[in-house]
């Protein structure tokens, strides 16, 4: 079934994409999906295309993540790019239910170049839904140029988000009294771009100055700090420019990691097949008796799994 769905996905079938995202969200058949996606298929619409840009939007609840994403969707569409959004909202730990209200703020359309999926993020699993890495690969394979992630708005520095996204946009708002918390939680460190949103509010410039001061104190990394108002329709072009000016951080790391992951799986399989081998048992016993060092036993084991 997965193979058929992936085939349909590669031919641009939206319903297949939607179904594969659901299967992935449930954590089913991940290995199958992942390994199929890792192999560039021929003929594939992905080949020769530049890689997708994955942009994460994070920040406390109500800072305007969904509204801003809605605006950026239009902007990026006008540049002729296709956009997909994975929007996370929290799932109740008690009922398991979730009210997924982000897409309502993003505006509705029937534009084929826009795809929005709402996802429930379980409490205790960080600021995003599970298996987002595989979902991003599915959207890339389908051919989206830009992929936006909306976090649940925990407002905390989240390493996982940083690993998944090329660019992390941290959104803050005036008069939130957040400034001490930024420092404490190390929130600013995770950001590639900082947006002071709702800059139509009077104290926005003050907040931006505080952020700049905090950045100067900490790392000397130059992070753009931009004022944006979606309400007043200001600052989005500058924001997109800043996002596009950044390198695609994710690509080299995660492609290599994916390959490594598959290598690990292969080695584990080989190891499991050989657990009863006489040679392996001899090695283990020698190690247990202290006749070979751990380092050398590991080396020998790795070499024995080479083929």
């Amino acid at each position: 079934m997965i193979a058929g769905l992936l085939e349909r996905l590669r031919h641009g079938d939206r319903n297949a994409l939607a179904r594969l995202l659901s299967i992935t969200a449930r954590g089913e058949q991940l290995a199958d999906i992942q390994s199929a996606l890792a192999i560039p298929c021929e003929p594939s619409p992905v080949r020769g295309r530049s890689p997708s840009r994955v942009v994460a939007f994070t920040g406390s609840g109500g800072v305007g993540k969904s509204t801003l994403i809605g605006k950026l969707i239009n902007l990026v569409r006008n540049l002729g790019r296709k956009v997909a959004v994975l929007a996370c909202d929290p799932q109740s730990p008690l009922s398991g239910g979730a009210l997924l209200g982000d897409r309502f703020r993003m505006g509705s359309s029937t534009d084929d170049g826009v795809f929005i999926r709402s996802l429930a993020a379980q409490t205790g699993h960080g600021a995003i839904a599970d298996h987002l890495d595989v979902m991003i690969r599915l959207l890339e394979t389908f051919g989206f140029d830009a992929i936006f992630l909306e976090t649940v708005g925990a407002g905390q520095g989240d390493v996982e988000v940083r690993n998944l996204a090329d660019v992390v946009v941290l959104m803050l708002q005036p008069e939130s009294g957040d400034d001490v918390q930024w420092e404490k939680a190390g929130i600013l460190e995770c950001a590639d771009v900082i947006v002071v949103h709702k800059s139509d509010m009077p104290t926005a410039e003050q907040t931006a100055a505080q952020v700049r001061a905090a950045l100067d104190l900490s790392m000397g990394r130059s992070v753009p700090v931009l004022r944006v108002s979606t309400k007043a329709n200001q600052g989005h072009a500058e924001l997109w420019q800043a996002i596009e000016a950044l390198p695609l951080r994710r690509r080299p790391a995660s492609a290599a990691l994916l390959l490594f992951q598959m290598a690990v799986d292969t080695l584990r399989q080989r190891f499991e097949n050989r657990q009863q081998d006489a040679e392996l048992r001899k090695l283990v016993e020698a190690w247990q008796r202290g006749e070979v060092s751990t380092a050398s036993a590991v080396e020998t084991l790795v070499r024995s799994l080479e083929s």
């Binding site: 659901s22 009922s95 239910g97 997924l100 509705s108």
Partner: protein, 133 residues
């Protein structure tokens, strides 16, 4: 483990009241469902697109404006065109008694009038459907 039911809730038509649909959204969430709130003033085309992209099991339409006999068939039609006839459709709002059999004949799974209790909606959605994929 049982997978949560995914339902899209949307208002089609011109009236701008969303209190009712929001109350329903919360009740379904509290009953363990994943509720995608699509909002007001949705066109039938946009609603179906949302259902497709969200891979929803159910679509809940709310209508107060009296245009149900044109809007509901239109949604059902576009669902079919989009290869989504397997999605269950429920309708809430002010629907005259005489129109109910017509709408069910067209393929609406259930119509919930103004007096419906939230428990009834939850119970209906949680009853297994035979014709699900």
């Amino acid at each position: 483990m049982d997978q949560p039911i995914r339902i899209v809730l949307a208002k089609v038509g011109l009236d701008g009241h969303d209190r009712g649909i929001k109350v329903v959204a919360r009740a379904l969430r509290d009953a363990g469902m994943h509720v995608i709130y699509a909002g007001l003033w949705q066109t039938p085309e946009a609603v179906v697109r949302t259902v497709a992209d969200e891979d929803a099991d159910w679509l809940g339409l709310s209508l107060l404006s009296g245009a149900h006999m044109t809007l509901v068939p239109r949604v059902l039609d576009i669902l079919k065109q989009a290869d989504l006839a397997n999605v269950g459709v429920i309708v809430g709002g002010i629907i005259p008694e005489a129109d109910i059999p017509k709408l069910t004949a067209m393929g609406v799974a259930k119509i919930f009038g103004p007096g419906t209790s939230l428990d009834d909606i939850v119970a209906f959605l949680k009853t297994p459907r035979e014709h699900k994929p």
